[in-house]
């Protein structure tokens, strides 16, 4: 019996949430300590798992565990990771760890950075969310995937509605939750159809996704059910035209939740759409890929243009996420080696990048009490770490070579060349737009003179904040310089998908 590493990674946050809720509410420091310890441990486990996979044979699903859950209905708790999901598990660990670091904050009444209001409940909900996300990435059972999916979505509502930005939190929380529930219900119907059809075809009653890969769904079944399943999940991936819950949600959420939301939760949508939609209904994917490709192409360019005109820093990042997640969908829709591999790396790269962006935006907002770009300035001098971090994030965002964004975007574009070259040309416009707004916003926020209003209000960030920034930046540079730390693994995952697509 091997060490059940995936279950430990998944259930550790749940256990920690329970422990924290049992602690007295006024022991804020102890609660934070438990949170940080749990997050660090989970990150170490996820990192160890990632390295084991990378240094091992990198074939198929590994670290498989299976426990009966409801055998009568063919539901079991089956965990395992492949080259696509292992990086995302690591990503979740990273975002969880850095999210806790930057939420620690500062009790200084002038700053009130981080989470000062009811940290016990905050961290408990955040960890429920994290556990759910881990669960989705490692589940090999369709029912369990839904189970964890809903667990991940629900705490989001509370986190935004309670700790969010006063002006829009109720509206945004409501909008986000409704969008995501509607999406997942539609996908669930599709999943039940698959479950039932499999039973009719083969007589096997099972939610096991590896089993379902050979369930022999007919072409017409696949054509009909692919769209609901794919788009049901893709809503969470922020696919155009179902994206507009996402920027509102980003803006209203507290910093650590924005990091989770853009960094990990949106990947959940992309991953589940790929795992359930493309991998279980490959013929449907081939039939409809043109539609996804069109929507994704629009998202890429449209998101960049809308981000360009934003004056609120968080909205700017929110819409740039729509554009970047559009690239993920674009990569998936190519259904070829380069595009899928790029999409896999882009999910990781974008997760790290937006987590960094939101962390820095939060640090600035806590001190300046504004996110309006024209009202900011001179932050490079006041908070040099945020400045350098934001610049590195910006370079990743514009796909500058040497950083992870390039490693991801370049193969995506190559994949699109293989399918529809005109779309590659059109989508490439977004690169210029992104470069322009990122550079202009960096200049306005970080250079020039500090506005008089802010004089004396900008207290330095904490050591924990700095650790988070340095950690995230080094990951992006590491992948950018040495793509071999991630791409071979994703490639193996892609090979599996291509096999299901008929070796195309």
């Amino acid at each position: 019996m091997n060490f059940p590493i995936l279950s430990v990674i998944t259930f550790l946050p749940f256990a920690a949430a329970v422990i924290m809720l049992l602690m007295p509410a006024n022991r804020k420091t102890e609660v934070r300590g438990v949170a940080l310890a749990t997050a660090s441990l989970d990150l170490l486990l996820a990192g160890w798992m990632y390295l084991q996979y990378l240094l091992g044979e990198m074939t198929g699903y590994q670290f498989i565990e299976q426990y009966d859950w409801l055998p009568m209905l063919g539901i079991s708790l089956k965990f395992g990771v492949d080259g696509m999901s292992a990086p995302l598990v690591l990503l979740t660990g990273v975002v969880m760890f850095t999210g806790v670091l930057i939420s620690w904050g500062n009790d200084d009444p002038h700053v009130m950075a981080g989470i000062q209001d009811r940290p016990r409940e905050f961290f408990a909900f955040l960890f429920l969310l994290a556990g759910g996300v881990f669960g989705v990435f490692v589940s090999l059972d369709l029912f369990m995937l839904f189970f964890f999916y809903e667990i991940a979505v629900f705490p989001m509502y509370l986190l935004i509605a309670i700790w969010g930005w006063v002006k829009t939190r109720e509206y945004a929380a409501m909008k986000l939750t409704l969008y995501l529930f509607i999406g997942s219900v539609i996908a669930l119907v599709g999943a039940l159809a698959m479950y039932w059809t499999q039973y009719q075809n083969t007589g096997i009653l099972s939610f096991d996704m590896i089993q379902m890969e050979s369930a022999g769904f007919s072409a017409s079944f696949q054509y009909a059910w692919f769209l609901p399943v794919f788009f049901g999940f893709a809503v969470l991936g922020g696919i155009w035209p179902f994206h507009n819950w996402s920027p509102d949600g980003h803006v209203a959420a507290p910093t650590a939740v924005s990091m989770f939301h853009a960094g990990v939760l949106m990947k959940l949508g992309g991953f589940a759409a790929l795992r359930v939609g493309v991998m279980l209904l490959p013929q449907g994917a081939q039939q409809w890929s043109w539609l996804i490709m069109t929507f994704a192409g629009i998202a890429v360019v449209y998101g960049a243009f809308i981000a360009f005109v934003q004056t609120d820093l968080k909205y700017m990042i929110g819409f740039s996420s729509v554009s970047h997640m559009g690239l993920v969908m674009l990569g998936i829709s190519t259904l070829n080696h380069n595009g899928l591999m790029g999409a896999g790396v882009q999910m990781f790269s974008h997760g790290i990048m937006t987590a960094l962006f939101f962390a820095i935006t939060g640090m600035i907002y806590d001190r300046a009490h504004t996110r309006q770009i024209p009202e900011l300035g001179g932050m490079m001098k006041a908070l040099p770490f945020t400045g350098v971090g934001f610049i590195i994030g910006g370079l990743v965002s514009m796909g500058m070579p040497g950083f992870s964004g390039f490693i991801a975007e370049f193969p995506i574009f190559m994949g699109v060349w293989g399918r529809a070259w005109l779309l590659a040309v059109i989508a490439s416009i977004s690169i210029i737009i992104t470069a322009a707004y990122i550079m202009v916003d960096i200049r306005k926020v970080f250079f020039g003179a500090l506005p008089e209003k802010l004089e004396g209000h900008i207290s330095p960030i904490t050591a924990l904040d700095k650790i988070a920034i340095v950690f995230l930046c080094s990951l992006m540079v590491l992948i950018g310089m040495f793509p071999a730390v991630m791409t071979p693994m994703v490639e193996r995952g892609v090979e599996n998908i291509l096999r299901l697509l008929g070796g195309a």
């Binding site: 490439s428 322009a436 071999a484």
Partner: protein, 507 residues
């Protein structure tokens, strides 16, 4: 020693970036330490380049000092480095100008640490373009080098720096968009980015075949223009040049030195390394168009330079004028590929790249020297300064003559070769370009006259505005440039031998 020999290129390439990272841990208050550290760090690649030059076999064919490492296996890109006679000349130019530019920035006091770090990163970016034998690597360094230059202009530049730096970035990135797409297409078609393999396989494509639903020659023509526009913006040739005067005028002195000295060469190098070998047919068909733009750059650049009252803008437009000759040489070489004329024109173009790097860096440095003292660059504010600052005057006279193409100095040799090579094949264009050369003389003499001669402007002679002559450190920056200009002018064979072998092998 063996390690050194087999890794010489990667050492030269990555040492500056490593040195910049180490700099992160130096105290930012110790400006003196930072300056000397950066200067020392940039001398090591220069010393290694000298070793490279001496170890380079001028009679050898193909690329030398080749290194290849796995980089991005999934899409078939490797870190493939190597130099031939053309690129080693550019490597020498880069590693020579970087220490001089750093030495020229010793007077800077504002945020010395990030400034010096950016310079070292910039050096790595520039060298990478010249050394890359992998198309994707070429593109990577081509883009990477933009970032430090953007920040150098936007943070340490003049009053209008925001506008100029963004224009520089957007122009450059916009220009390279077509290049990016064309590179992706090549990668998808052949599954490799290795230049040597691409030269063969891309040219071996049957002209009648279909690619992406279009005839091969259509695809090649579009890709040719995508490459050409990217490089034309970088050179820059008329009418893609408008970013250059702004960027130059606002950039800090040392930034201008590298911008004119090396960055512009990237564009011309792209033509030589990528466009001509990959598109020999198209280069022949469109040679006339390219030559027309080059002549436009020569003539309009000269006229525009003549019309300037800002000394730095004058020098900036002179760069457009001089780089026009490089492109004229390239166009002629593309048209007459395989003949002796092509070889002469191409030799001239490469040497002109080197020479312009030397003289433009020198001129921008001299502009910076006087601006630092007078805080103005307006030519009308000067006059009769020769007696006040005789040493500066002498150096400026020398540099201007090198730039003008006075026989005996470097510019003459290369411009003569370009004209000699282009005349038989592009006669009309060459004749018009020669007329443009007349105006080169005019604007350079105008600059000298307005600053050094004429009635003495009393303002600079007394009191707080009294100009001091060029100091020892500044002379040390100018001296190597002057020495090289003179050596090439008198005895160009040492460098032409190296260039010629590569040119004959390629074209």
């Amino acid at each position: 020693m063996d390690f050194l020999n087999t890794h010489l290129l990667s050492l030269i390439l990555f040492l500056p970036a490593l040195a910049a990272l180490v700099m992160l841990f130096l105290p930012s208050g110790e400006t003196k330490l930072l300056r000397w550290y950066a200067f020392g760090a940039s001398l090591i690649p220069f010393a290694l380049t000298l070793a490279l030059w001496s170890g380079f076999d001028a009679n050898g064919t193909g690329f030398q000092f080749v290194e290849q490492y796995v980089w991005y296996d999934a899409i078939g890109s490797t870190l493939h480095l190597g130099v031939d006679g053309i690129s080693i000349t550019m490597v020498l130019l880069t590693t020579l100008l970087t220490p001089l530019a750093i030495l020229a920035s010793f007077s800077l006091t504002d945020r010395v640490k990030p400034y010096m770090m950016l310079f070292l990163f910039l050096e790595t970016g520039l060298l990478g373009v010249f050394m890359a034998l992998d198309l994707l690597m070429f593109f990577i360094f081509w883009e990477v080098e933009l970032v430090p230059m953007y920040f150098l202009i936007s943070q340490w530049g003049g009053a209008n720096r925001d506008y100029a730096s963004l224009k520089f970035l957007v122009y450059s990135m916009g220009g390279s968009l077509g290049l990016l797409l064309a590179i992706q297409m090549l990668g998808v078609l052949f599954g490799t980015y290795d230049l040597v393999a691409l030269y063969e396989r891309w040219n071996a494509l049957d002209a009648g075949a279909m690619l992406l639903g279009m005839p091969v020659h259509t695809v090649k023509t579009v890709a040719f223009w995508a490459f050409t526009v990217a490089f034309a913006i970088k050179v820059p040739i008329w009418p893609f040049h408008t970013w250059l005067p702004d960027a130059h005028t606002e950039a800090p002195t040392a930034g201008s030195m590298l911008l004119a000295g090396v960055l512009l060469k990237l564009g011309a190098y792209g033509f030589i390394r990528l466009v001509l070998p990959l598109y020999p047919v198209e280069a022949k068909i469109f040679a006339g168009a390219l030559a027309l733009l080059a002549v436009g750059a020569i003539v309009f650049g000269a006229f525009a330079a003549f019309g300037q009252t800002d000394f730095k803008r004058l020098v900036a437009y002179s760069s457009i004028n001089h780089m026009g000759f490089v492109v004229l040489g390239i166009a002629a070489a593309g048209l007459a590929a395989g003949t002796k004329d092509a070889h002469i024109a191409m030799n001239g173009a490469v040497l002109q790249m080197f020479n312009h790097g030397i003289s433009a860096a020198g001129m921008f440095f001299l502009v910076g020297v006087i601006y630092e003292r007078a805080h103005t660059r307006n030519l009308d504010d000067f006059g009769g300064l020769f007696p006040l600052i005789p040493v500066y005057g002498g150096i400026m006279l020398f540099m201007s003559m090198a730039s003008l193409g006075l026989p005996g100095l470097n510019g003459f040799v290369s411009e003569f070769m370009v004209v000699r090579g282009a005349y038989p094949v592009l006669t009309i264009y060459t004749v018009v370009a020669m007329l443009g050369l007349l105006f080169t003389g005019a604007y350079i003499l105008k600059g000298i006259m307005k600053i050094l001669h004429g009635p003495e402007n009393e303002h600079w002679a007394h009191g707080e505005h009294k100009l001091t002559d060029i100091n020892t450190r500044e002379i040390l920056v100018a001296a190597p440039l002057m020495a090289i200009a003179l050596v090439i002018g008198i005895w160009p064979a040492w460098i032409l031998e190296v260039i010629n072998k590569a040119v004959v092998a390629l074209f």
